[in-house]
Symmetry: C2
Subunit: 87 residues, 2 copies
């Protein structure tokens, strides 16, 4: 499945969350990651995120589509995509 | 079509962009809007955003799916959704 994750997280927890998500997905904007991943990897990642954030304060949105062809993406302005892809 | 817009924009331009996107979509996180919109409205919105941002510095990602049923969304932690929906 294809996944987009966006987050709004307290600065004291952001590095841990970013490092964790980067193990599964590609960084594409300040607080946005995306990429292809398996259902089981996504479940694992969501569980890890849940353990890292403050559930009362932080917000993480996980958007998924089963078929990446269903999702179109356009960039207006600068592209921030990293070149290192999935670690 | 269903649209997710994420942005990373210089602070001096962010209010204008946020106000503009809010005329079409629902605010769901710090730098994330989403919602249903027509192809023509999306074209209009993209044109407006293009006129407001610094193309060399700012980045706006526009994700679209033709059928909202194709997109699943999960929230981990706090939900930031506004209650005022589309203006």
């Amino acid at each position: 499945m294809y996944v987009i994750i966006t987050y709004d997280i307290g600065v004291e927890r952001i590095d841990a969350v970013r490092i964790t998500i980067k193990q599964y997905l590609n960084w594409v904007q300040n607080s946005v990651f995306e990429g292809q991943m398996s259902v089981s990897d996504l479940a694992e990642l969501k569980s890890k995120i849940n353990g890292l954030i403050d559930i009362a304060k932080d917000s993480v949105l996980v958007f998924t589509v089963n078929n990446p062809k269903w999702l179109e993406k356009n960039v207006i302005g600068a592209s921030r995509s990293s070149t290192d892809n999935i670690i």
